[in-house]
């Protein structure tokens, strides 16, 4: 790693951890309904929302009601996004006259955005009207994130309540997450991003002149619209001269801000945050990258405050940060070392003051190696899934690390809310394992962890691997699965494994070569996203209900302290053991084989 690379990564991690406390403090006050200065502006409006919808904010729910409210609300979101896509051609704000979207693609995208995944089988600027982007996708970016945060807050209440049967009001938690946290942050970030050059306009796509004319050949069509063929049966080609460039624009900044802050990740344009109008400068890149991990990191501190012991939050944050930082030192050098095949062609891949060098295929010059790799780690550590470089073109090891971060269950920071509730499941398993070692009933934060909690935690931890590995196995066995693969050999397998790792952990990033917009993948990945969102969120709420009903046991000599370096190490060990043992065989068939092929070819010639 170069000096600048060290510096960039350090600056990022330090800024992130430094912001965790102030934002975490603020969010804890929001969820505990203590005064914050935004009350003055938003409280009357919040009250109006409750009055109109007939919600009594003081009336809390049992965990079952909480779960049903969440599911009903998400179902409405799904239906709205599905409907908007199916009807967009006849709706306003469609300056490019984009057609309606096929049912399988609409299903996939609607699931994807309602589950906070933002997997995108489609290509933004040639598919979605401005109306669909705003009214469908941007809305889900807010509320699916808010639903995740609400679920987490309910779980935290489970730890703090004693002998209670209620864990909060879903409508209130969801409303406050959106109004007090996501919207103000998005508004500020969106405006800063516009200042850097992210577009925000309702104008149609702009036409500009090209300095040099380019030409390309395309099959010539006859009067009947069918491609002409010459006597030998070959298609007749015609040359097309291009003198102008059509620049896709639109209301992007407002969506980009929340796509990052809500760990959604769905790009406005096809290439997501690699697009210069979605992520124009290194500063916009830094801010967007920070926005990805900001709320998940800060929620750790919120958790600590709400359970009355901030050390508990710091311990979780420490475990997340340590894994993240360690992986920086694997991925950045892998990409910086470049592609041996290019070295043989006398291509200069060395880092210097005048170029970043390394494996630049699929990367943008303004970001270079370090910022592209750091982003790939942030976006897959969180269940964000936006990209600023094409992961499919990463070196085998550089691409394996983001894939593995998803496979760990999206608990290294993870999605807003979902990351921390996932990590708390691992914490429950960690105290259980250590309880077995010392022969005591395990407890966490004063609550006894018993068979019911363990069963639910096991469900949460085991469902994603089942979905990922089962889905991948099925897809590589059938022709409809294999025919979508773009790159040959082991890398092709990685494309499929990456797709299911992404959908099966609600991440949303892709090895983009895979043609995923087919009925097979739209359906398979859609189901994968549904399973791994709700079959995790519902058991988590069940644990919340079960914990809330328990009494709090006082700390005794047999209690394992859960704020110590020892516990941090135990937690890291639990996460890595599950992740490594489950996925090493699959990773060996993809990235590992490809890496050996890549360096083997290099040394044999």
């Amino acid at each position: 790693m170069t000096n600048n690379s060290f510096f960039t990564c350090a600056l990022f991690v330090v800024t992130l951890v430094a912001l965790a406390k102030p934002l975490g403090w603020y969010m804890a006050r929001v969820y505990e309904d203590e005064p914050v200065w935004l009350n003055r502006v938003l409280a009357p409006f919040e009250a109006l929302l409750y009055r109109l919808s007939g919600v009594n904010p003081k009336q809390e729910m049992r965990w079952t009601d909480y779960a049903i409210a969440m599911l009903v609300f998400n179902l409405l979101g799904f239906l709205a996004v599905f409907g908007l896509q199916s009807l967009q051609a006849s709706l306003p704000l469609n300056p490019q006259n984009l057609p309606n979207i096929s049912p399988d693609s609409s299903f996939n995208t609607a699931v994807s955005f309602a589950t906070n995944t933002n997997w995108q089988g489609y290509s933004g600027e040639v598919t979605m009207s401005y109306l669909t982007q705003m009214l469908g996708l941007t809305v889900q970016n807010f509320v699916s994130a808010a639903a995740g945060m609400a679920t987490l807050v309910a779980l935290i209440r489970g730890f703090t309540r004693r002998k209670a049967d209620i864990i909060g009001n879903f409508w209130v938690d969801m409303t406050r997450s959106t109004l007090y946290i996501l919207m103000p942050l998005s508004l500020v970030l969106a405006l800063v991003l516009v200042g850097q050059g992210v577009v925000q306009t309702f104008k149609p796509y702009q036409t500009v002149s090209l300095l040099e004319t380019v030409s390309y050949e395309q099959p010539k069509l006859g009067a009947d619209g069918v491609a002409l063929q010459d006597a030998a049966g070959k298609p007749v080609l015609e040359t097309v001269e291009v003198k102008e460039q059509t620049v896709a624009v639109g209301p992007a900044a407002s969506q980009v801000a929340i796509k990052q802050l809500g760990t959604n990740g769905g790009g406005f344009f096809n290439v997501n945050s690699a697009h210069p109008l979605e992520n124009p400068t290194p500063l916009s890149n830094f801010l967007e990258m920070l926005a990805i991990l900001l709320i998940p990191a800060a929620l750790c501190y919120t958790f600590g405050m709400m359970v009355g012991d901030t050390r508990q939050g710091w311990a979780i944050l420490a475990a997340m940060t340590l894994i993240f930082v360690a992986l920086i030192f694997v991925a950045v050098p892998a990409e910086q070392s470049g592609n041996p095949a290019l070295t043989r062609m006398i291509v200069d891949q060395s880092a210097s003051d005048t170029q970043s060098g390394g494996n630049m295929e699929g990367k943008e010059t303004r970001f270079g190696i370090t910022n592209s790799v750091l982003w790939s780690l942030a976006t897959t550590a969180a269940s964000n899934g936006s990209v600023n470089a094409m992961h499919d073109s990463f070196t085998p090891i550089g691409g394996m690390v983001p894939m593995w971060l998803m496979q760990l269950g999206e608990v290294i920071f993870g999605g807003v809310g979902s990351g921390l509730y996932g990590m708390l499941m691992f914490a429950i398993v960690a105290v259980f394992v250590s309880g077995l070692m010392i022969g005591r009933t395990p407890e966490y934060l004063g609550k006894k962890i018993e068979a019911y909690e363990m069963k639910m935690a096991a469900v949460v931890i085991l469902i994603p691997p089942l979905v990922v590995l089962g889905g991948t196995a099925l897809a590589v066995m059938v022709d409809v699965g294999k025919s979508s693969v773009f790159n040959p050999g082991a890398h092709g397998f990685s494309e499929v494994l990456y797709a299911f790792s992404s959908a099966g952990n609600n991440n949303g990033s892709a090895f983009g070569g895979l043609s995923a917009n087919t009925p097979f993948y739209n359906a398979m990945l859609g189901v994968a996203m549904l399973l791994s969102r709700y079959w995790l969120a519902v058991p988590v709420l069940a644990i919340a209900g079960s914990l809330a009903a328990k009494k709090i046991v006082p700390v005794g000599p047999g209690t394992l302290p859960t704020h110590t370096p020892l516990f941090v190490a135990l937690l890291i060990g639990t996460v890595l053991m599950v992740g490594a043992l489950t996925f090493v065989p699959a990773l060996a068939l993809g990235p590992v084989v490809e890496h050996l092929q890549m360096i083997g070819v290099a040394s044999s010639k």
Partner: protein, 191 residues
């Protein structure tokens, strides 16, 4: 379930209006007021009043008298800003090796005297297919070719490149880079 339907529907409609209409409209209004150029695509206005390109969107260049940008994988022609795309070629894909070989040959053909190793960003496709920048090393590699084609001393071209080289933002963020379209517009304006 039914008792949750009413708040679900009403809150969903309210949040759709709030986050799907009010929020983007508010951002658009403020953006158009505060940053009108950036909000509409950072277009460069030429002397004739027409848009000569966008500062943030690269253009295809292949004549020896212009600096060439990153290879672009958009279809059906390079730098199609209506349909951004990367190549998605994996590192061990033979098609990547072939593509790089073709690009190297194009550089060698345009400037046979240049024996230096080619900077990697000149022969690898960008992520967006619209990358407006090349590295300073990639610009330096092309100075002699451009100078020869334009019959201008290389020193003058080098000075122009230096003028168009952006350092790391705030000396902290990202990588040093040269905006290819801005540089070529300046070249064409040079007499």
């Amino acid at each position: 379930m039914l008792k949750h339907l009413k708040p679900a529907v009403i809150l969903f409609v309210m949040f759709t209006v709030l986050t799907g209409v009010v929020y983007p409209a508010l951002v658009t209004g403020l953006a158009q007021l505060l940053f009108p150029n950036q909000a509409n695509g950072s277009l460069i206005t030429a002397e004739n009043g027409k848009a000569a390109g966008s500062r943030l969107i690269g253009q295809p260049f292949s004549s020896p008298g212009h600096f060439w940008g990153r290879p672009s994988a958009t279809g059906p022609f390079p730098y199609n800003a209506g349909a951004s795309s990367g190549s998605n070629l994996g590192p061990t894909n033979p098609a990547l090796v072939d593509a790089v070989k073709t690009r190297i040959e194009a550089f060698k053909a345009a400037d046979p005297d240049n024996k230096a190793p080619i900077p990697v960003d000149l022969v690898t496709a960008s992520g967006s297919g619209l990358d407006p920048h090349i590295s300073p090393a990639a610009a330096a590699y092309q100075v002699n070719r451009v100078a020869k084609a334009r019959h201008i001393p290389a020193e003058k071209i080098r000075a122009l490149v230096a003028e168009h080289t952006e350092n790391r933002q705030w000396s902290l963020f990202g990588e040093p880079r040269v905006n290819v379209l801005a540089l070529n517009l300046a070249l064409d304006a040079m007499r």
